[in-house]
């Protein structure tokens, strides 16, 4: 799967260790995909307990796969993906809190978000306030 790469180092042949590279790529991609997936699924799902439970189960299965495999690269990748999925389960609730605070755009077509938008105690909005370029100045509504 990963070719053994050798480099010449001060007269000695040393092996390149790609296990860290596997971990770095897995961490980056799983966080990226998880980040986007949580936002999209939370915006579309009428209830958050289903994606939360699904994410927990997937995370646990992935961690079990990490235990079963003897391939060190797969073991590492599954370990990181599993923990990311378990964290994503928590992120569904955190994302809903962002919607309530208006820090993430609410989806008016989602009945759960529509209820949040209708509640005057919340600051929910359909606008994505983060979708702008930094100006270097404090943002004002004027």
């Amino acid at each position: 799967m990963f070719p053994c790469v050798l480099v010449y180092n001060y007269g000695e042949i040393m092996e390149i260790n790609t296990i860290g590279l596997t971990a770095a790529i897995t961490a980056f991609l799983s966080i990226w995909i998880g980040h986007v997936a949580v936002r999209k699924i939370e915006a579309a799902s009428p209830v958050i307990w289903i994606p939360t439970v699904a994410s927990i189960l997937l995370g646990l299965v992935t961690e079990y796969c990490s235990l079963l495999t003897n391939n060190l690269h797969l073991k590492t990748a599954f370990g990181i993906i599993g923990v990311t999925l378990l964290w994503d389960a928590l992120e569904f609730t955190r994302q809903q809190k962002r919607i309530i605070k208006g820090h993430a755009p609410a989806n008016p077509n989602n009945p759960r978000h529509a209820r949040i938008l209708a509640n005057s105690n919340f600051h929910a909005t359909t606008h994505d306030l983060l979708k702008r370029e930094p100006s270097g100045k404090r943002f004002t509504h004027n």
Binding site: A27, L67, I81, G82, G136, R138
Partner: protein
């Protein structure tokens, strides 16, 4: 069965957690234009991990590198969060080399 993968997963979560103050402080002090520096540091750390023979240390160092790379993609959004008042805003940022050039580039955002 050994728990190397599970422990690495937990360690990754903890290391990524340290990425949040890195992004918040980095943006507050230098502004989002420090993103190429943060990305360069991250890629260099991942590159350095290739030469570490101990698997634990190799993975920990590489994940620290990945945290820097991920952090570099979060800086632009963090700058907007600070401008919106969701985080403390610092108008008097430390000027970093080549800031004028970097400002013309499109900052990465995932």
């Amino acid at each position: 069965m050994n728990i190397f993968g599970i422990l690495i997963g937990i360690l990754t979560l903890l290391i990524i957690g340290f990425g949040f103050p890195l992004v918040i402080r980095g943006e507050r002090i230098f502004g989002y234009v420090c993103w190429p520096y943060m990305m360069g540091i991250g890629i260099s750390i991942i590159g350095a991990s290739l030469f570490i023979q101990n698997n634990w240390l190799c993975v920990i160092i590489a994940v620290i590198g990945a945290t820097f790379v991920w952090g570099s993609t979060e800086l632009k959004e963090q700058a907007v969060r600070a401008e919106l008042g969701w985080f403390p805003f610092n108008a008097d940022k430390v000027k970093i080399p080549f800031a004028e050039i970097i400002e013309k580039w499109k900052a990465p955002h995932l």
